[in-house]
Symmetry: C2
Subunit: 209 residues, 2 copies
């Protein structure tokens, strides 16, 4: 297909496709004439992945480049590949706060007690520590050990989500789905939690108990 069809099939403007070609994020098409190139389904898949990383994952170009390099390097196993993509989705945490380090140590001890296999450099360790620190500063007693039920709930969700990834499709497609699901199931989970809170509040405090 020509670049115009590639654009209409992916929803990515021609000018943006040309920019990705110049930046090397997208491999060149097959040159069919001096001024024309042909593109195929691999280009469609790659553009969909880039779009997911940019629009859903809000990643910058440098991070997108790292994820694509991992997708393209067959020596990168699937676990490492998913890690590369999902770590890039994390938010920055101010670890310089003097009260941060002890909370982070509590988080690490907690994860070890759960026997979860999580890299020491996983950004979500910092994100969890920061969330706990903010809770405590606002006067909510939050012992990390009291997070066991939250952790169990998170795990039952994750089992299901990782199950849905393991369907033997191509790497780019799996990474795209992992990134999109990781980000877009967040509001799903949070909305369900609010609905469940209302249900539980009704059972406990409601007028028709």
């Amino acid at each position: 297909m020509r670049i115009s069809e590639l654009s209409s099939r992916t929803g990515v403007p021609v000018a943006t496709i040309k920019y990705y070609l110049r930046e090397g994020l997208l491999s060149p098409g097959h040159r069919s004439a001096a001024t024309q190139a042909q593109y195929d389904d691999r280009h469609v898949g790659r553009l969909r992945l880039i779009r997911a990383l940019r629009e859903v994952g809000q990643l910058r170009l440098a991070a997108i480049r790292r994820v694509l390099a991992a997708v393209d390097d067959d020596r990168t196993g699937m676990h490492e590949l998913l890690g590369t993509a999902c770590y890039a989705l994390s938010s920055d945490v101010d670890a310089s706060d003097p009260e941060f380090a002890p909370v982070r140590a509590e988080v690490d001890a907690f994860l070890a007690s759960l026997d979860w296999q999580v890299s020491p450099s996983a950004p979500a360790r910092d994100e969890l520590a920061q969330a706990v620190l903010i809770l405590r500063r606002l006067g909510v007693p939050c012992s990390v050990d009291n997070l066991r039920s939250h952790a169990e709930a998170a795990r039952s969700v994750a089992v299901r989500e990782v199950d849905q990834l393991a369907e033997g499709e191509e790497r780019a497609k799996t990474v795209e789905r992992a990134v999109v699901s990781t980000v877009l199931y967040e509001p799903v989970l949070l909305a369900l939690r609010r609905l469940a809170q209302e249900h539980e509040s009704s059972r406990r405090f409601g007028p028709h108990r």
Copy 2:
């Protein structure tokens, strides 16, 4: 205590306290001299609640006023009171999208099948419908019926969270804790989900399976 001590005990600047007094969010102190008023622990509690609603809940003044009115009206039962506060925390959803209504109907049918007691006007119904719509538009097959495991996980978290509220303290304090927990446990849950995803990915795809 004087207004200066009220300020230092709550972390709310004197000028802001005066603004809340003028707006009627805070009841006047007991006038001890022509230019001086005395404040007590109820003022401290009220200011903490206003601060939680503003800084954590990001509520506007009109919404804060509604929540405070519900706190002050003893005829408002605890379930309705928590609803007033937590509904105010919700985000706006564009329900005018022509594809929205059918997804919202699916969400309603799903919640009915779970037998959850949730008001037809709960904003989280719209939030869930919007999240599902976005997932589908990005090519993630998301049948509402496949959300049962997410719903079950959300419910186990909510049971625990509502349990922690039911400790017979004063209404303003309970509402403050409900608002703070509802908002600030969100990043806790999301960080735990990412950690759990890594653990499950390691079990399924990791090099040391």
